[in-house]
């Protein structure tokens, strides 16, 4: 039972990440490989505030979200001038810098040793120690993020973001403040990723920089690309595919040493097949050209 709950909690956490990255990719048309950086900043900020200042989880979470949104300016600003491949490289640089900071600022982050013993939050005086309660809590947060995403995607803001994705010049000629909209998209996307980071930290109760590497960013990007972007269902089907698939492999009696490699091969194959035959992903509306 706990095993199933664990899988669902992971689907919720990665679901939040995929929905937030979808705002940038499917709506803003910005392929970025630094989402694990935002995820990590959120996880570390929340954890450090809880552990060092005894701060309440929700307060720490809010600070984490705000700080991550503020940090997103470092990548949002270059995105105003850089397009396509150049922006992709800038986001790669940002990811590497954040990882280097998490890994090397040992006084603050304990570097490669990681931070163990992160407490679970209390909600209405109830500690969420049991897997079931945490699953419910995570489900509620996921549902809230889902609703927020739905409102954002269908709002005038979402519409302008789509217009910018299609044709920045035409959007500007219609009086749309393209730089401001892009900065907002980054701030919101990064803030939501930070929520996923905080949830992950208190769920696993241990974080270290290896959870927030470039590989992780590519994994999140693959979720959105395989599932499809530009709507709500695409990223979510991507999450189910990418999280549940390796679990199925467990039951196929593949030796433990081989399983991770098989998984990587399947992910890679899925990407190649989709890029060839269904560029917009399994259920996506938007494809890069």
């Amino acid at each position: 039972m706990n095993y199933i709950l664990h899988i669902i909690v992971m689907i919720f956490i990665y679901g939040i990440l995929a929905l937030s990255l979808n705002l940038l990719i499917g709506y803003g048309g910005l392929i970025s490989v630094c989402h694990a950086a935002f995820y990590g900043i959120g996880a570390y900020t929340t954890t450090l505030l809880m552990m060092n200042f005894n701060m309440n989880f929700f307060l720490a979470l809010i600070v984490g979200v705000l700080l991550t949104s503020a940090m997103s300016l470092f990548i949002a600003y270059p995105s105003l001038r850089l397009k396509g491949d150049y922006f992709f490289l800038a986001s790669l640089g940002f990811q590497i810098i954040i990882f280097a900071i998490l890994y090397n600022w040992v006084n603050l982050t304990k570097g490669p040793y990681g931070i163990p013993g992160i407490p679970r939050p209390h909600v209405f005086g109830l500690a969420l120690e049991s897997e079931f309660f945490f699953f419910l809590f995570c489900g509620v947060i996921f549902f809230l993020i889902f609703l927020i995403s739905k409102v954002l995607y269908n709002s005038p803001f979402g519409r302008v973001l789509k217009a910018i994705r299609e044709d920045e010049i035409a959007a500007e000629a219609l009086g749309k403040d393209v730089p401001a909209i892009k900065i907002w998209a980054f701030a919101i996307s990064a803030g939501i990723a930070a929520i996923a980071g905080a949830m992950y930290a208190v769920y696993v109760s241990y974080i270290d920089p290896t959870s927030f590497t470039l590989d992780e960013s590519i994994f999140i990007l693959s979720i959105v690309l395989i599932g499809g972007s530009g709507n709500l269902k695409g990223p979510l089907i991507g999450v189910v595919f990418m999280i549940v698939l390796p679990e199925i492999l467990r039951f196929l009696r593949i030796p433990d040493t081989v399983a991770p490699n098989v998984r990587q091969i399947i992910y890679g194959l899925a990407l190649i097949i989709l890029m060839k035959y269904r560029v917009q992903g399994i259920l996506g509306d938007y494809s890069f050209e």
Partner: protein, 260 residues
């Protein structure tokens, strides 16, 4: 020249004064000074590469002039980015249409107008206003779609419309913006003749309501029919200007442009 005194006061006349712009060694626009008063339909004509579209790009802020200034309603427009110029009421129809292809026709038209919900803060704190404005706008957007004959295509992705229909969609989007100055780059190219008639009527109506219309056109019959005033550009300079019948009768215009 028509301009005797440069009037920079708070007026609805769009004033271009000494605009020049070069690309490398090529002078795309060379010392152009013109006034576009409200209520007037002005035609820009001239051979390909004469600088007509570049002039539109300069007015709408996509290209900065090397020299010269643009004034409108007492403000120097040439210091603003394109989106601010558009917000101030200068609308533009692109020659290459530029509809948003992967979104629906109605959404394309809705984008013509700004909504407070384009700022996420308003979604959170001013949602009533956002929804109220959306309800008004969607009605209006439907009216404009019906006007250009695309009522049935409301929920069709723009990329699935024909070129002519995309052009009509771009016109509906521009009309939705309710601009005071309309820059129309070849508005009738690629549109079927029956719709051109409606479009001409519409352009005339827009001008009668006191707006400024500036259009680039290669079809001289249309120029003769709707333009009150015409500028003939060649190699970035204004070579002739005046009433359309006079300009089209001009010897140099007939020789360099019409080939007569």
């Amino acid at each position: 020249m028509e301009i005797t005194v440069l009037n920079k006061m708070k007026t609805d006349t769009l004033i271009l004064s000494g605009i020049s712009r070069s690309f490398g060694g090529l002078k795309a626009v060379d010392d152009v000074s013109v006034e576009f008063p409200p209520g007037r339909i002005t035609g820009l004509i001239g051979p390909n590469g004469a600088g007509k579209t570049t002039l539109f790009n300069i007015i709408s802020g996509f290209i900065r002039p090397d020299k010269g200034e643009i004034w409108w309603q007492g403000e120097k427009l040439s210091k603003y980015p394109p989106w601010t110029i558009a917000m101030k009421g200068i609308g533009r129809l692109f020659q290459d249409v530029r509809v948003f292809k992967k979104i629906t026709a109605i959404e394309n038209v809705l984008l013509g107008k700004s909504n407070p919900g384009e700022c996420p803060v308003n979604l959170l704190f001013n949602s009533k206003n956002v929804i109220a404005r959306y309800r008004e706008d969607i009605e209006r957007a439907r009216e404009w779609l019906a006007f250009v004959g695309l009522k049935e295509k409301e929920n069709v992705l723009a990329e699935n419309l024909s070129y002519g229909q995309q052009k009509l969609l771009a016109i509906a989007r521009l009309l939705m913006a309710d601009s005071k100055v309309l820059l129309l780059d070849e508005p009738t190219a690629g549109i079927n003749p029956s719709l051109i008639k409606d479009l001409i009527l519409m352009i005339k109506k827009i001008a009668e309501s006191g707006r400024t219309v500036i259009f680039i056109e290669h079809n001289m019959n249309i120029v003769l029919e709707i333009a009150h005033w015409v500028y003939f550009l060649n190699e970035g300079r204004i070579v002739a200007f005046g009433r359309p019948e006079d300009v089209l009768g001009n010897h140099e215009v007939r020789l360099t442009y019409l080939g007569l």
